[in-house]
C-alpha cells in the first residue's frame, strides 16, 4: 500500500480520482429514496374514483380534482428531477395528502349527484307511468278505439327502456327516453282530446241535454215510454210518463263515441229515433230495430260525401238495434244489453217508442276531466 501512493502520485492521481467520482455519481443518482406513500394512495384513489363512475356523476368536480392531481404529479416530477441530495418530498407529501381529501370530497359529491339524479329520473318515470296508467284506466273504462292508441304502447315500452338506462347509470339516454315516452303520451292525450272534443263542447252537450229534456217532456205529455242511451256512461235509461223507470248498463262498439256516419264505421248513431221493429229471435237474443238512418243522418252522410270525408263507395248502413247478447262484448254500432234485461225491455216497450241517443249529459264528464287532468297536471 505504501508503494501505491507514490506510484499514483507519479501518474497524476488528481484527474483519476475526479474521473472515478464522476463515474460513480450516476450510480448514486439511480438509487432514489421511496416516494411518499400519499402518492401511491392518491393514484389508487383516482382509479377507484374512476371505477365508481365519478367522472360521469360529478364531471366538473372530477375535472378540478384531475387538474389538481396533474399539478401534484408535475411537482413530483420536478422533485424527482432534482439531484438526489436536493430532493425534498415534504411538499409533495403534503400536496398529495390534500389531494386525497379532495378526492374523497369529489367522491361524496359524485355519490350525492348519482343518488339525486337517480331519484329525479325515477320520479320522472313514475310521473310518466302514472299518466300512462290514468290513460290506460280511462281506455279500459271507455273502451273506445280512440283511447287505444299506439302512442300508449310506445310510451309504455319507452318507460321500460328508460328504467334499463337508469339501472345502467346512463342518464343521458334515460332522460332522452323518458322525454320521448312523455312526448308519445302527450301525443296520445292530444289526439284523444281532439277526437273527443265534442264531449267537452258545452254547446254540443247543451244540444244533447235539450234532446233528452224535450223527449222526457214529450213522454210526460203522452204518458208513454222513452228510451235514452247515454253513450259515454254506457247506459240505457227507460222512462215512463217522463219519469225514470230503470237504467241498464249497455255495451257498444269499438268506435261508439263517434256519431255514426257510414256503414262499417262501427260507431253508434246519435239523435232522435224510434223503434220500428221488434225481433223476437235475433242473432243476439231479442232485438229492437231503430230507424237509423233518419233524415238528419242522411243529410250528414250526403254532406260528408260531398266534402270527401268518406269514400264515394261508402254506404250509410242500417240495422242499428238495441239487442241482447251481453254488455261485455263489442257491437258494430248497436246497443247491447244483458239478455235478462233485454227481455225485460223487450216486453215493456212497443214499436214507435222514441229512442234518444246522446254522447253525454254531463259537462264535467269522466273523459274530459281525466284528459284535462293529464294535460294540466304535468
Amino acid at each position: 500500500m505504501a508503494k501505491i501512493g507514490p506510484a499514483l502520485r507519479r501518474l497524476g492521481a488528481g484527474p483519476i480520482i475526479v474521473a472515478l467520482i464522476f463515474s460513480l455519481l450516476p450510480l448514486a443518482g439511480c438509487s432514489e429514496p421511496p416516494l411518499p406513500a400519499e402518492v401511491d394512495l392518491a393514484v389508487k384513489q383516482d382509479q377507484d374514483l374512476w371505477k365508481v363512475g365519478v367522472p360521469r356523476y360529478a364531471p366538473r368536480e372530477y375535472d378540478e380534482y384531475a387538474a389538481a392531481l396533474r399539478a401534484g404529479q408535475e411537482l413530483l416530477i420536478s422533485e424527482r428531477s432534482k439531484f438526489l441530495w436536493f430532493q425534498n418530498y415534504d411538499p409533495v407529501a403534503k400536496l398529495f395528502s390534500e389531494l386525497i381529501v379532495h378526492g374523497e370530497q369529489v367522491r361524496t359529491a359524485a355519490l350525492t349527484a348519482k343518488a339525486r339524479e337517480t331519484t329525479d329520473l325515477n320520479l320522472q318515470i313514475i310521473k310518466v307511468s302514472e299518466r300512462l296508467r290514468i290513460l290506460r284506466d280511462l281506455a279500459d273504462e271507455i273502451r273506445d278505439k280512440k283511447l287505444s292508441t299506439r302512442g300508449m304502447a310506445r310510451a309504455e315500452t319507452l318507460i321500460n327502456e328508460a328504467r334499463g338506462h337508469v339501472k345502467n347509470g346512463d342518464w343521458t339516454k334515460a332522460r332522452r327516453t323518458i322525454s320521448e315516452a312523455s312526448l308519445n303520451l302527450d301525443g296520445a292525450v292530444k289526439a284523444t282530446r281532439q277526437s273527443m272534443a265534442r264531449f267537452a263542447d258545452s254547446q254540443q252537450i247543451a244540444h244533447w241535454r235539450t234532446l233528452v229534456a224535450n223527449a222526457i217532456q214529450q213522454s210526460r205529455r203522452s204518458g208513454g215510454y222513452l228510451i235514452v242511451v247515454n253513450k259515454l256512461d254506457r247506459e240505457l235509461s227507460l222512462y215512463k210518463s217522463g219519469q225514470l223507470v230503470k237504467t241498464y248498463p249497455a255495451g257498444m262498439g269499438i268506435n261508439y263515441l263517434t256519431d255514426k256516419l257510414y256503414s262499417g264505421d262501427r260507431a253508434t248513431p246519435e239523435g232522435q229515433y224510434k223503434i220500428i221493429r221488434k225481433l223476437p229471435a235475433s242473432k243476439f237474443y231479442k232485438a229492437l230495430l231503430i230507424n237509423y238512418p233518419n233524415e238528419q243522418d242522411e243529410r250528414e252522410f250526403a254532406l260528408a260525401k260531398r266534402q270527401g270525408k268518406i269514400t264515394k263507395n261508402a254506404r250509410i248502413g242500417g240495422l242499428i238495434e238495441i239487442h241482447g247478447g251481453g254488455t261485455a262484448g263489442l257491437t258494430n254500432g248497436c246497443v247491447a244489453l244483458d239478455d235478462r234485461q233485454m227481455l225485460e225491455l223487450y216486453n215493456t216497450v212497443d214499436i214507435g217508442t222514441p229512442v234518444v241517443i246522446v254522447g253525454t249529459l254531463s259537462a264535467n264528464n269522466t273523459l274530459c276531466s281525466t284528459l284535462d287532468s293529464l294535460c294540466n297536471e304535468y
Binding site: 439511480c30 287505444s148 302512442g151 315500452t157 327502456e161
Partner: protein, 194 residues
C-alpha cells in the same frame, strides 16, 4: 502515460453520462399507438376501468421519461419497462374491448331475435284467440298495443349497426317485456273465454 490516463478517464466519464441518455422515442410512439388503438376500438366506452389503467400507465411512463430528461444522469430503463407493460396492456385491452363489444352485440342481436319471435307468437296467439263478445274489445286493444310495439322493432337494428349495443339491447329488452305482457294478457283473455 499520464495524458493517456486522463483521456481514458474522461472517456469513461462521458460514456457514463451518455449511456442511458436517449429518450425511448420508439417505445413511446409504439405504446401511444397501442393505447390509441385500444381507445379507437372503444375502450373508454366498453371497458372504462381498463381504459383508465392503460392511460394512467402511459401517463406514468411519460412522467418517468420527463423525470429522466431533467436529470443530469439519465436512465430510461424504468420508463422502458413501464412503456413495455403499458403497450402489452393496451394490446390486450384492444382484444378485450373487441370481445366485450362482440358479446354486447350478440346479446343485442339475441334479444332482438327473441323479441321478433315473441312478436310473431303473440300475433299468432291473438289471431287464434276466440273473438267472442266478451273478448273482442280486449283483443282489439291488444292488437293496437302489438302494432305500437311492432313499430318500434325496426329501430333496434340501426342501433346495432351504429355500434350502440347497450342501447339496442335495452330497447329490444323493453320491447320484449311489452310483448310478453301482451302475450300474457292474450292468454288470460283466452282462459277467461274458455
Amino acid at each position: 502515460m499520464k495524458r493517456i490516463l486522463v483521456v481514458l478517464a474522461s472517456l469513461a466519464l462521458v460514456a457514463s453520462l451518455t449511456a442511458c441518455a436517449k429518450a425511448p422515442t420508439e417505445e413511446i410512439n409504439a405504446t401511444k399507438a397501442a393505447v390509441d388503438s385500444a381507445v379507437a376500438e372503444g375502450a373508454q366506452q366498453y371497458t372504462p376501468e381498463d381504459y383508465k389503467v392503460v392511460t394512467d400507465g402511459l401517463a406514468a411512463a411519460n412522467a418517468e421519461i420527463k423525470v429522466q430528461e431533467e436529470k443530469f444522469f439519465k436512465n430510461f430503463d424504468k420508463a422502458k419497462q413501464m412503456l413495455a407493460k403499458t403497450k402489452a396492456d393496451a394490446e390486450a385491452l384492444k382484444g378485450k374491448v373487441a370481445q366485450r363489444k362482440e358479446e354486447l352485440k350478440q346479446a343485442a342481436i339475441a334479444t332482438l331475435a327473441q323479441a321478433t319471435t315473441a312478436l310473431a307468437e303473440a300475433k299468432d296467439l291473438l289471431a287464434k284467440a276466440p273473438k267472442g263478445k266478451g273478448s273482442k274489445a280486449d283483443i282489439e286493444a291488444m292488437q293496437t298495443d302489438l302494432a305500437g310495439v311492432e313499430a318500434m322493432l325496426p329501430e333496434v337494428q340501426p342501433m346495432i349497426d351504429g355500434g350502440d349495443f347497450v342501447g339496442a339491447n335495452e330497447k329490444a329488452n323493453a320491447i320484449l317485456a311489452r310483448i310478453t305482457a301482451v302475450t300474457d294478457e292474450v292468454k288470460a283473455a283466452i282462459e277467461k273465454k274458455q
